[in-house]
Amino acid sequence: MDDLKIGVFVCNCGTNIAKIIDCDAVIDSVERLPYVAVARTYKYMCSDPGQDMIQADIEEYGLDRVVVAACSPRMHEPTFRKALQKAGLNPYFLEMANIREQCSWVHDDPVAATEKAAALTAAAVMRVAHHEALERRSVDMCPNTLVMGGGIAGMSAALDLADAGNRVYLAERSDHLGGNVARTDLTAPYLDSARDMLTERITRVVEHPNIDVLLESQVRKVDGFVGNFQTTIRGKADDGAPTDTVYDVGSVVVCTGYKEFDASRITHYGYGKLPNVVTSFEFEKMLRAGRVTTKEGKAPQYVAIIHCVGSRNLEFHAYCSRVCCMTALKYAHEVKSAVPGAYVSDIYIDMHAFGKGMEDFYRRSSEIKTLFLMYEKNDYPVIRKADATDDCDMLIEVNEILSGETIEMPADLVVLMVGMEAREDSEEVAHLVNISRDKDGWFIESHPKLDPVATTTDGVYIAGACQAPKDIPDSVAQARAAAARILARTARGKIEIDAVFSEVDEDKCSGCRMCNELCPYVAIEFDAEKRRSHVISALCKACGACVAACPSGAITARHFTDKQIFAELEGVLA
């Protein structure tokens, strides 16, 4: 380590850093530190000229460690690592000092800010001296995929994977494919048949030589890691007895879908008490059967459709279920064709008509004499049985916003547009494949914008309404995106594993097993023969819990070693 050469590059970030921090003073203070061979400032280190400067200095001074004092490492660490790599240095020989987000942007006293920036930069210099060259490693990728859920998303993912020549195990809890789409009649906005669309998919899936459809099956266990999962699936044997089968897969796509909101939870609507108050899914059933009637078997003269049942209110779900508005308009059309002359009133909060063709569809729907009534969030319309004298079965009292009046609407049939919510088994599923859920129970994607398909567990993907309420095109798009992600990897046949993980020094491990239980990724294995624990690096996510917990200091966190952190500590306190 005596002949180390460290280069320090302090970024002005235009004036973002330089207007508060005296970057030259920072340079002066770190230049004196051991091993520092060159220290410079530049307007924008992340710019191409900035990176070129770093690479040139690596060449010229033979630098073997680099410190960049600039923005947050969460911003540009990858950028500068690449720069090192281009110059032939191991990318992990970089350390960044966060002197923008955590210094120049949060302090107004230039003296104190400069002092702090100098301390942070010095700490980075002292830390980087202890950095080790780390290599990313690659393991074989099993081309098979487990798809959980046989709905529209699951089938779409399965078909793309299978068409590319990979084996797919499609596990479905129920005894049929199709999921919630199989419960709908026509689809908005073009009013084409969900059934036709679905039948074509199901036939292809069932007949596909690369797809094993596992009906009435439950995934019991998912062991292993990306590219090498072992999944245990419980299905029915011929004699009907439950049997567990283990399938090796390289990836898992979770498409477990959603369940509809239980309308009886909103008392104002009398669902379950008033026979002619039905949910959207019950109404779809009528439509699929081709006869729209009241319980009494009469054709309804007045049909009312109430939006946002369980959605967009404080009491139940704050979120919008996204498909209901357009489905409601679809009903207006279907009622008109099923019961010519029937009056349709559409009671809504806001009309959400985003997405291709939807605004058109909204316009066309308003042309077919549908009465639109707008109500206030949380100010539920109230449904009651009509009096004998009335010519209708029920009366709906609505505080209509646009007119500002309280209006009483007649109704023979009321359709409640029930929202989507996470399935009750979503927690179980999340635990099974080790992914997280948000406060509403939807599975969390690894990045809400840039990576909406992957999860925090490498090799596990999510698609369809199990991630959030979605319509068919979005579900299919996400499903096929997941398939594409997987195919990109199977095509390479190998997957890279992060170079940062924890390691047990078996010469120090006493086999106390304190760490075994701690790992959330079950990455720590105990070898009963040797009486030693060791880390399965591909499973390790480098949180470092076991490192801090090991009572005999036998576990090391690569790139976050005690040595490195102690050096950083001495740096900030120097």
């Binding site: 947050s72 490492p73 969460r74 966060n98 923008r100 987000e101 955590q102 210094c103 942007w105 949060v106 302090h107 107004d108 006293d109 104190a112 800010a113 002092e115 702090k116 301390a119 942070l120 700490a123 080790n434 997280s436 925090t456 701690l518 959330p520 996510k541 480098a542 949180c543 470092g544 819990a545 490192v547 801090a548 917990a549 966190a557 976050f560 005690d562 952190i565 102690f566 950083e568 500590l569 001495e570 900030v572 306190l573």
Partner: protein, 144 residues
């Protein structure tokens, strides 16, 4: 001149460090006394880090992790939560005031909260004055 305490902050990468970055992007100003060291998870924070920080001259140590239930590694912050009361009792027996070492949960969206914590802690530690560990180590040198 008022005493400027040196405070070391150990922040988890996913919530708290990001929260501190957010304070920056939101231009929320706070006291310059905290020097942040990034770890991947609060579970990585070996109690030794805290002892070493105090030994090396820190007047206070701030530990931040994701809110319970929100850990990127699902349960890392609980591991830190279990160490904390033991750590406090150890420090108390060595005569170190409770307020010098503090565990706080800061999410990625709580830039303001992070700033408030830093300001509050800086004031409290400033009120306590320099760390007694420093005094003790100086006393040793004086004695021999």
């Amino acid at each position: 001149m008022t005493f400027q305490p040196k405070i070391v902050g150990f922040l988890c990468n996913w919530c708290s460090y990001t929260g501190a970055d957010l304070a920056g992007t939101s231009r929320i100003h706070y006291a310059p006394n905290v020097r942040i060291i990034r770890v991947m998870c609060s579970a990585r924070i070996d109690p030794t880090f805290v002892l070493k920080a105090l030994h090396d001259g820190a007047d206070g140590v701030l530990i931040c992790g994701c809110h319970p239930g929100d850990c990127h590694y699902s349960e890392g912050n609980y591991k830190m939560m279990r160490r904390y009361p033991l750590l406090k009792s150890l420090l108390a027996d060595y005569g170190i005031e409770q307020e010098r070492v503090r565990l706080e949960w800061v999410s990625a969206s709580e830039g303001q909260r992070f700033a408030d914590i830093v300001n509050d802690m800086t004031e409290r530690v400033r009120a306590l004055g320099p760390s007694p560990v420093k005094a003790a180590l100086e006393a040793d040198l004086a004695e021999r």
